[in-house]
Amino acid sequence: MRNHIDGFEGLSPEDAERLEQSGIALSSENRCGSFFQTDQDIRHTSCSYEGIEMLPTAEALKKYDWLKDYYWNLVDKDKDEYTRYVAAQEPRGFTIIAKKGSKNIFPLQTCLFMATDDIQTVHNIIIAEEGAELHLITGCVSSHSVGQGSHYGITELYVGKDALISTTMIHTWGENVTVVPRSSARVEENGTFLSNYISMKPVKRVQMYPEARLTGENAIARFSSVILAPKGSELDLGQRAILEAKGSSAELLSRVITRGGTVISRSHIIGMAEETRGHIECNGLILEDGIIHAIPEIEGRLTNTSLSHEASVGKIAQDEIEYLMARGLSEEEATATIIRGFLDVKIQGLPESLQRQIDAAIDAAEDGF
């Protein structure tokens, strides 16, 4: 028996499909909680798991006075015109607090849905207290009927001591939608932050540069991005890890394909503490004339840091295609098989259900290869 979630009713079949492609389950099966915001209206918030609280940010700020210290703390309110715009609105978006030692087996899901041609704003605060393990999937979707619109999102993530936060964000926007997220995470001692981003659908413009500050010893950050840029899409994407504490480490991985779109793929690791390690992998495939501009930056500030990167941009090597053709695959089948492999990113520490969701989002775009 599927338990339908309030707030999703009234969606057209096309939009329901777009939500599902973004990893959003329309029933509460396999999800421990759901948040659904349409344009500026919060339609649904629920969380069945005892150790985890999810509520609209406006409500959370009223309920918990201490939360104001977490609000506009990691992201600067005056960073740019977009942060200032969001700061001028009543806060929308969600706040999640995973209490000390809690652990959700089924992920929480949050859906930010744009139904009209307007500006959607969100301000999310995600906190995992000491020893907590929190898995979250966020589907950012515009209705198939949306002509143009903008989404400005602030997300501040706090990974406590020995805690883990995994966020998996799947974008399904429209070709005239502009998206400007501003995200920042702080990771304390032995904490782990996993940030996964998948965008396989057309979008007018995305500009973001999320960062993780590793402030506790042995903290870990892993960013993984899987991007397909169709013609007309312009994605300026970055990911930054600042290794501030001894023994902290980061891996930034991106797999980018262009089919005529433009992608600037930035990565930056700063090693500024003893025994820190960082690695960037930044690979791009140009399937149709477009631009992939890979900018991996590694910045070491002391002797005892070890940073490396590898980057590649180009077409699929002919010898790889012919290798598979010698096994009986046609040129098209060989190409598709290699591309699917290129995008096959397995994320360490991610629950199997979320990995499957990522795989499904990529598989759904296979026609777009």
Partner: protein, 243 residues
């Protein structure tokens, strides 16, 4: 099975195979020998149909069909297979995934073969990424077992393989060319490039061919040809007039 007539092949505008004739009947396994750079790999890749190898003259007939101008994958689908000497690494593509794609509806069989080739723990690994010499050969043989070609070409199957692996690989190759069957019932054929002849300890070859400077200089008993090379080197073959 395979009939190559007066084959001339150019690579990057330069002719490297000069009028090769080669006939491999059904059920027979032949050996191709020759010094480094004599064109052995080029000949195999030309028969298979790789894009860099341009046939300027001559004909390749496979199972009675002219395949000279057929694309690579069509030749594979008609029953040709090739074991690569140095296959490319394909990042992200798992060996197991390729076997699934190749085996269509029957991946169970692929897993059985993987077990036979001691490759189970490699199914989740990127294809050929950091594989050792022996692992590459085992992976190649495994792929061919799934593909089940009627005619298999093997480019130096024993090179870079330790003694333990060579037994495994040798026996598997013998199976690929149905050596366990009586010659009368054998339907599969093979063409093997070898420098050392070690592979012949596991499967008898019917005929050997000596390739020098892009020309076949002689045919004969493969062990006898190898013995001559071992004793006197290739010089005699290079100087030998074309038969």
């Amino acid at each position: 099975m395979l009939n190559v007539e007066n084959l001339h092949v150019e690579v990057d505008g330069k002719e490297v195979i000069h009028g090769v004739n080669l006939r491999i009947p059904v059920g027979e396994t032949h050996v191709l020998m020759g010094p480094n750079g004599s064109g052995k790999t080029t000949l195999l890749r030309s028969i298979m149909g790789f894009s860099n190898y341009t046939v300027t003259e001559g004909q390749i007939t496979f199972r009675g069909r002219d395949v000279t101008n057929l694309p690579l994958h069509q030749r594979a689908r008609y029953g040709m297979g090739l074991m690569f000497q140095r296959p490319p690494t394909i990042s992200g593509l798992k060996l197991g995934k390729l076997l699934d794609v190749m085996s269509g509806g029957n991946p169970t069989k692929a897993h059985e073969y993987a077990e036979m080739m001691n490759m189970n723990s490699f199914l989740d690994r990127d294809l050929n990424a950091n594989f050792s010499g022996g692992e590459i050969k085992r992976s190649e043989v495994l792929q061919l077992m799934v593909q089940q070609p009627d005619f298999v070409m093997l480019d130096e199957p024993e090179s870079g393989v330790d003694l333990e692996n060579i037994v495994l690989i040798g026996k598997a190759i013998a199976q690929l060319v149905e050596k366990e069957r009586h010659i009368v019932n054998r339907k599969k054929s093979g063409l093997i490039i070898t420098h050392t002849g070690f592979i012949l300890d596991y499967l008898e070859a019917d005929t050997g061919h000596m390739l020098c400077n892009g020309e076949i200089r002689c045919h004969g008993n493969p062990r006898e040809i190898l013995k001559v090379i071992k004793e006197r080197g290739y010089q005699e073959c290079i100087e030998c007039a074309i038969i």
